[in-house]
Symmetry: C3
Subunit: 429 residues, 3 copies
């Protein structure tokens, strides 16, 4: 294994200006305002909690950012082996100019102060984007997001549809839908029309995708617009809200999901499917640290969907690495199935490495969307993408240059396509 | 990692004359007649289609071979990263004498013409076999194949039983069975006797195995010869054909499968099980590019079978890499369970590497049947086996020579046994 | 990859005095008395049997140890590729002073005699412990084990609860429970009180854990102490024994399991869960060589349990590598879920390597219990731990020192914590 070849390829990949095709950035507050914002990222709070830190110490109302960070550092030594921790150290070095190798109880205040002074600079957002070489960042917008007050060329709207599909029983969600669409929801026609209004607004504001995260048990199912079964289910939801039957909730989830797919196809918005998460498995966990999964899921559950919408691209993320080979093979066969990033619990090097090699050797090169940050704050784009680019460079060096005699140029061209080119083409951005 | 050690081992393994224990070669037309035959292999058509090529361009009736290849090359650049593509480039170099590294839109006609001139030579079949160092190739014969007009020492018959097990409801299948066996199928006794006739003929013509591919939901189940439930099911199939109930179709699948296992044991034919494929998941895909799978399958479904036939060898292939550890462990425990090759969606280096290492370190060495080509045309045996031999050499070098201090000779002996010796012993050929 | 760095780290890890947190050692006879004891370990008998050795040759009553070993060596050449075989060769070299590299039909008697002379030495137990650098070894004690006549500081008792949970229908088990607790079992109160007595005795004798192995279908479920459903089930078990209904057996398994978890929490004994084994899948296999599994199991089945006992540590082993990512992620989120060793069918280098890397990069370092021997005889602790330490050193060298620029000292400290420190802390020993 030639370390220097890997490095040459990494450096080339690292010079590519990125489009980040999935994030949770708030465009009105894209960067952090203190280290507490960064270490409040659920990866750190949930790992600190898992390692022994009581939840109430983390989530006590009213504590100052500095106090919160100080408390966390009583436990963060327990997670200094994790790749998530390496992201934090790396961004501190690259973005804040921290000079050391370790950040711990003895020196965290130095980093805190460094970060404070950087974040206070008026052009911090631009600095971060420039250092991270990011040009555009996809958002994940609530369906009733007004989508105003930000540059939608830089922060690209994306319609998140989880609430519509899975939480329509909640009166609040239906009220929000009513507000956002001007439509009172009584009939399936009302509902379809309301969602149509959302698509029109998102499309007008420059949206480039719609997205949803899906539990392992979900299997999309076709419904006609005017399904008697679905109308009965909707009546139950409207009348009883959260107390509606689970069967009716599921029926409506299926009906709404199918309508969204129809609209996504009509409005030419790729439909990002993020498959496999169970919400609130650990309901007393910290904020955003409560979700896990059942890895017994199969893409065969989506076969009817993929067949029904041949012209709708489905960029797909799977939560568990054991599902990745199915993803490789469904993308190998179905023209409308694409691989999209390395998601959440599979976003660590051991799983990325195995999953990436599986993809690179068996899926057409124009169907692989390499990576997205999934970040809540811009600062995390840099270290997360860096981790991926290192692994991508390793695979290119070892499997393609050494394994198949490819030239550096040819390998870099493949890396560029996976890292950026396909994102441009698939999302037309 | 000593590259040269890997190379030494590879060269030794590469000098071994092969027996290919599973293929779809047509012994009456074993080689290709033009590049269109090679690029018509479903790997290329399905990947080209997946990358964006409309099916009608590929499967338009009446287009010439050259036209078909030219059309494919408009899209094949999208799959030049795949290992399947590397097989094509490699066989072009090794068998046709192509000198370049890349075959693309700009130079495909050179390769086309090279191939044409080679394939036109009267001894092309012998050339390919000699260059590929293949001595015998197992076939996959329909149950009513007359098995005549070819050298069954070179092309070894193998009884494919899929139609008998899964498609007996089709009138055409029962007619074929009637023709092949002389038996009208009304009762279970008729049916058993008809299948017995097939075994006798296959055995007489030198068959060395019977084989079947199985969907993930299938679980073999014992039935007595005279099962009332099965006779009722058969009556339904005979009367209603494809319109028979799914339950009855399943019952007959179970009954027939069990009888075939009994006959395989009686006639001493190893029973190749290829576990895990769902047919026609993408029914509008290209020819042979429609099958996928649900990786949620377990070998526990076969425990009753393995227990019931202790003297029948079951060489087993699994479709998904996530099933491979179960295969390793069932082969570790059950004397009659053997590992057989790396099948289809698991036949790419990332999965072979992981699956092979798991097998080599935990299964008795006399129970590992290393590889088969699964090829439709002889030309593919060379590059597919080469891929496997490289991976086998790597594992021998790294895990055995470096890891356990084995000598080259000892490592090569293990490789030889896995690659060839066990095939001879298990299939008595 | 710097081989010498890996070696330096290995040497440091290899100098650490171990606590073996799970074994099946009999403290009254901890070492072997002849090579037949070692080669009677189920790994060798089941692999020899799988490779072709008839069971009756292995298990014939009355054959001498030397005869048994001689017979085994007629087949052991078939398994000289396995990692299990490498354990035997290595312990022969390290503990018996065998000088060669291979042990086979031609020279096994030399090793037999070497072993005999070593094992006859009065301090053989101490020699083995000293050479293996083992300080304490956890046992797996039947619930009615008197726990007397051995040094419980060296051999740490652990309450095995399989019989109580899964075999309470057997009259013999209830009799043993009656004898061990003085309690006649008629009501749920009787049963809880009887189990309470067991916990008190185990705790008094220095127990540090309770443990259970669980089939893939099991899903813990909360029951009140006085559950009508459970009392009805218990009545059925008491009246009909093994003939009680499967539903009632399952209900009692759930009820007893939940009570044991309550008592484990009350008595502060970590509850080792070993998840995923199906017993007697191959009922005519050799002794202890009959169990396999269905890899379709999920830790979501344990979510209710993990939520209900936040203060009870659950060191968890999973049988199949495909479950390891779930284990990583449940340990990442739940404070009371810990990873524990590499169990049985996942205890081979290919799976350890992948599973270990997944753990080391994503779980807090204080929650990883690296390895246990699972040994029946002390002699196996040395080679099994050595295998693990080599893999641990490799991951530390490649992923941490080379990958993240860690110093050797920092890497060794992490290795020490995983190998020993966490065992001390979690089991308070």
């Amino acid at each position: 294994m030639s370390q220097s070849l890997n490095q040459i390829l990494f450096d080339q990949l690292d010079s590519i200006v990125l489009i980040d095709s999935h994030s949770h950035i708030n465009p009105h507050s894209p960067t952090s305002t203190s280290l507490a914002d960064l270490l409040g990222y659920h990866y750190y709070t949930e790992l600190a909690h898992s390692s022994g830190m009581p939840k109430h110490l983390i989530e006590e109302p009213g504590i100052s950012p500095r106090e919160k960070v100080g408390r966390l550092f009583e436990y963060l030594g327990n997670i200094d082996n994790t790749v998530q921790w390496s992201w934090f150290v790396e961004l501190s070095q690259k973005l804040f100019g921290f000079q050391g190798d370790e950040i711990n109880k003895s020196n965290w205040e130095t980093v805190y102060d460094l970060a404070d002074s950087k974040m206070a600079q008026p052009d911090w957002e631009s600095q971060v984007l420039a250092k991270s070489k990011v040009e555009k960042v996809f958002l994940t917008n609530d369906f009733d997001d007004p989508l105003e007050g930000f540059d939608s060329k830089r922060y690209v709207p994306c319609l998140r549809t989880d609430d519509l599909v899975f939480h329509l029983a909640q009166p609040k969600v239906r009220e929000r839908l009513h507000s956002a669409s001007g439509q009172t929801i009584r009939t399936l026609s009302d509902l379809k029309q309301a969602i149509d209004v959302l698509f029109i607004r998102f499309k007008e504001r420059g949206a480039r995708a719609c997205a949803i995260s899906l539990p392992p048990w979900f299997a999309p199912k076709a419904y006609p617009d005017q399904s008697h079964v679905a109308q009965v289910a909707l009546d139950d939801l409207v009348q009883f809200g959260n107390d509606a039957s689970e069967t009716h909730k599921r029926t409506m989830a299926e009906w709404v999901f199918w309508k969204i797919a129809e609209l996504a196809e009509a409005y030419k918005l790729p439909f990002d499917l993020m498959i496999g998460v169970n919400r609130r498995v650990y309901p007393t966990g910290v904020f955003q640290g409560q979700d896990l999964y059942d890895s017994r899921v199969s893409l065969i559950q989506y076969a009817e969907l993929f067949n029904a919408f041949p012209n709708l691209p489905f960029p797909i993320s799977v939560l568990a690495s054991v599902t990745n080979q199915e993803l490789v093979d469904y993308a190998w066969i179905f023209p409308n199935v694409l691989t999209h990033g390395h998601w959440w619990y599979s976003n660590t090097p051991n799983y990325i490495r195995h999953d990436l090699r599986g993809r690179m050797e068996a899926i057409p090169r124009n169907k692989q969307l390499g990576y997205y940050s999934d970040a809540y704050k811009l600062e995390f784009i840099h270290p997360k993408f860096r981790m991926y680019k290192q692994l991508l460079a390793d695979v290119l060096a070892e499997d393609f240059c050494l394994g198949h005699g490819w030239s550096e140029e040819k390998a870099i061209a493949l890396g560029r396509q996976i890292l950026r080119g396909n994102v441009e083409n698939v999302f037309e951005c």
